[in-house]
C-alpha cells in the first residue's frame, strides 16, 4: 500500500486534503457550498478539453477552474449568486460534454476525471501540487483576517473591496480544485471542502482551531479513503463521500450530546 507509485498518491492526496480542509473552513463560513461544488465540477470541462488538444490535464483544470471562479464572481455581482453559480456550472459542464463527444476517449477516462483515480498519479505531479498548495496556504494566511471579517459580517467593506475579497476567495477554491481533481475527481472535491469544515464548526467555536481541525479531518478522510480503496478496489470518491458524511454525522452527535 505504501510502495512505489502509491507513495505519490499519498503525498499528493495529503497535500490536497490539508488545503481542501483549510479552504473549506471559509466555504462553510460563507455559505458557499454551491460555489465549492460548481468550480471543481465545471473544471471537468478543462480536463476533457486538455485531453482533446493534448495539453496537460493540470493546465486544463487550472484554466477552467479560474475561468469558472471569475464567471461566478462577475455574473454574481448583477444577479442572484446561486443562479449565476448554477448557470456558470452547467455551461462549463455542457462544454465538457461537447469535448468528451469530440475526443474518441472511452468513458473510463471520463469516469476517472469525475470520480478520481488515485493510482494514476505520477511522480511528476508532485512538483506542481506542492507549488499550488504552498500558494493556496500563503493566500489563506494573507487573507485570513479580511476573509474572516467579510464572512462574519458580509458587506461591511466598501463595494470594490468586497468584490476583491470575493474573487480572492473564489481563486482559492480554484487553486484547491486544480490540485485535488486528480485525486478524488471533480465531483467529490467539494465533499472534502464541506464535510470536514462543517464537522469542525460543530466541534469548536474558535476560528483558528476550527480551521486546523477541518484540515485534520480532511486528511483523515482522504487517508482512510485511499486505504479502503486500495484494499477493496472500489472508487476513492465513494469512500471520500461516505467518510465525509460519517464525520459530519459524528460531529453533529457530539455537538448535540454536549448540549450545544
Amino acid at each position: 500500500m505504501f510502495s512505489g507509485f502509491m507513495v505519490n498518491a499519498w503525498i499528493v492526496a495529503s497535500l490536497a486534503a490539508v488545503v481542501g480542509g483549510a479552504v473549506g473552513f471559509f466555504v462553510v463560513m460563507r455559505g458557499a457550498s454551491f460555489v465549492a461544488h460548481a468550480i471543481p465540477n465545471g473544471s471537468f470541462a478543462g480536463a476533457a478539453g486538455a485531453a482533446l488538444v493534448g495539453a496537460s490535464t493540470l493546465a486544463g483544470l487550472g484554466v477552467f477552474s479560474v475561468g469558472g471562479a471569475l464567471g461566478i464572481g462577475l455574473l454574481g455581482r448583477r444577479s442572484r449568486r446561486d443562479v449565476a453559480t448554477a448557470l456558470t456550472l452547467v455551461f462549463m459542464l455542457g462544454l465538457g460534454a461537447l469535448f468528451l463527444s469530440f475526443s474518441a476517449e472511452n468513458s473510463e477516462a471520463a469516469y476517472s476525471l469525475l470520480f478520481g483515480e488515485v493510482l494514476g498519479i505520477s511522480s511528476n505531479e508532485i512538483g506542481p501540487t506542492l507549488v499550488l498548495s504552498a500558494l493556496g496556504l500563503l493566500m489563506l494566511g494573507l487573507l485570513w483576517r479580511p476573509l474572516l471579517l467579510d464572512s462574519v459580517l458580509p458587506g461591511r467593506a466598501p463595494g470594490r473591496r468586497t468584490l476583491a475579497i470575493e474573487l480572492a476567495f473564489l481563486l482559492l477554491v480554484a487553486i484547491t480544485t486544480t490540485m485535488t481533481v486528480p485525486v478524488v475527481g471533480t465531483t467529490l472535491i467539494f465533499t472534502l471542502m464541506i464535510a470536514p469544515a462543517a464537522s469542525a464548526r460543530a466541534l469548536t467555536a474558535r476560528p483558528g482551531l476550527a480551521l486546523l481541525l477541518s484540515a485534520a479531518i480532511a486528511l483523515m478522510t482522504v487517508w482512510g479513503a485511499i486505504a479502503l480503496s486500495y484494499t477493496t478496489n472500489w472508487p476513492v470518491g465513494f469512500f471520500v463521500g461516505s467518510l465525509g458524511a460519517c464525520a459530519y454525522a459524528l460531529s453533529r452527535v457530539a455537538h448535540w450530546s454536549s448540549g450545544g
Partner: protein
C-alpha cells in the same frame, strides 16, 4: 430563401421518428421545468435543485445496475434525497447550504460506486455519458405516458400550492401568521421539484438538468414583474431553448470535427445561458430608458 431554410433546418428534421419523440418529450419536460423553476429561483433553491439532479446520477446508475428503467432510478433517488435535505434542515439559509452539500456528497459517493460496479460487472461504459449527460434522441415513445404523468403530478402540486407557496416565498413569517403551514408547503414543493429534476435528468442528463430548471426562470424574472407571467415566460423560454437545441443538434451531424453530431445537451445549455444573459441586457436597457 428556400436554400437558407434548408441550411437551418436540415432536410428530414421533422420527419424523423426519433426527433418527433425527442421534441415531444423534451417539450413536456421543458414546460414543466420552466414553470416549476420560477419558484426554485424565487426561493433561492438553485443549489438544492442542482443537488437533486446530480444525485439523480446515482439513481440512474443504480437503476441500470438493477436492470430497471433509469427514470424510476431518477425519481426514486431524487424524492429520497429531497426528504433527507428537508430532515437535515432546509429551514435556515446557512443550514440548508451545508445540508444540501452533505446530501449531495453522499449521492455522488453512491453514484461513483454504482457506475464503477456497472463498468466492472456489466461492461456498461457506454451508459455513463448517457446517464450523466442525457441523450434525448435515444428515448423511446414508451416513456411518453410516464413522463407526461409525472410532469402532471409536479405541475398539479405546484399549482395547488400556488398562493401559499408564493406567500411563503415572499416571507415565511407573513405566511405563518396567516395560518399557512410553511414547512409542509416547503416540503411539498421540494417533492414537486424532485420529480421535475428527475424528468430533466432523463432528457438532458443528470449533471446538466439544472440549466433547464434555473436558467429560463431566472431569465423570466428579469423580464417581468408579475408572478404568473414569469412562470409562463419561463416555460416559453425553456421550450424554445429545448427545441432549438434539438434542431441545432440535428444540424450539427455534419459539423467538424467528428461528423457524428454535437451533443444536444451542449446546445440546450448554451442557449439557456444566452437567453439569461440576453434577458439581463434587455432588463438593463429598459431600466435605463424608463
Amino acid at each position: 430563401m428556400q436554400a437558407l431554410l434548408h441550411a437551418i433546418v436540415e432536410p428530414g428534421f421533422f420527419a424523423d421518428g426519433a426527433v418527433q419523440i425527442a421534441a415531444t418529450l423534451g417539450g413536456v419536460v421543458a414546460v414543466v421545468a420552466g414553470l416549476i423553476g420560477v419558484f426554485t429561483v424565487i426561493r433561492s433553491q438553485a443549489f438544492a435543485g442542482h443537488a437533486l439532479s446530480d444525485i439523480g446520477s446515482a439513481g440512474g446508475s443504480s437503476a441500470y445496475l438493477a436492470g430497471v428503467a433509469p427514470l424510476w432510478g431518477f425519481v426514486g433517488i431524487s424524492v429520497l434525497a429531497a426528504a433527507a435535505m428537508e430532515q437535515i434542515g432546509v429551514q435556515r439559509a446557512r443550514g440548508r447550504d451545508v445540508a444540501t452539500g452533505i446530501v449531495l456528497g453522499v449521492g455522488f459517493a453512491l453514484a461513483s460506486l454504482f457506475l464503477y460496479l456497472g463498468m466492472t460487472y456489466h461492461n456498461s461504459s457506454g451508459e455513463i455519458p448517457t446517464i450523466l449527460f442525457g441523450s434525448v434522441f435515444t428515448l423511446s415513445a414508451a416513456n411518453l405516458p410516464l413522463v407526461i404523468g409525472l410532469g402532471a403530478v409536479a405541475l398539479l402540486t405546484t399549482l395547488t400550492l400556488y398562493r401559499p407557496l408564493l406567500l411563503a416565498s415572499v416571507s415565511p413569517e407573513l405566511a405563518a401568521a396567516r395560518g399557512v403551514h410553511v414547512r409542509v408547503v416547503g416540503a411539498a414543493y421540494l417533492f414537486a421539484l424532485a420529480i421535475t429534476v428527475a424528468l430533466c435528468d432523463l432528457t438532458i442528463g443528470a449533471i446538466l438538468s439544472t440549466a433547464l430548471l434555473v436558467g429560463p426562470a431566472a431569465a423570466a424574472l428579469r423580464l417581468t414583474d408579475r408572478p404568473h407571467r414569469a412562470a409562463l415566460l419561463a416555460a416559453g423560454i425553456s421550450l424554445a431553448c429545448t427545441w432549438l437545441g434539438l434542431l441545432l443538434a440535428w444540424d450539427s451531424f455534419y459539423w467538424p470535427p467528428l461528423r457524428h453530431g454535437w451533443p444536444v445537451s451542449f446546445f440546450i445549455v448554451t442557449l439557456v445561458l444566452a437567453a439569461y444573459l440576453a434577458a439581463g441586457a434587455l432588463a438593463r436597457g429598459q431600466t435605463k430608458r424608463g
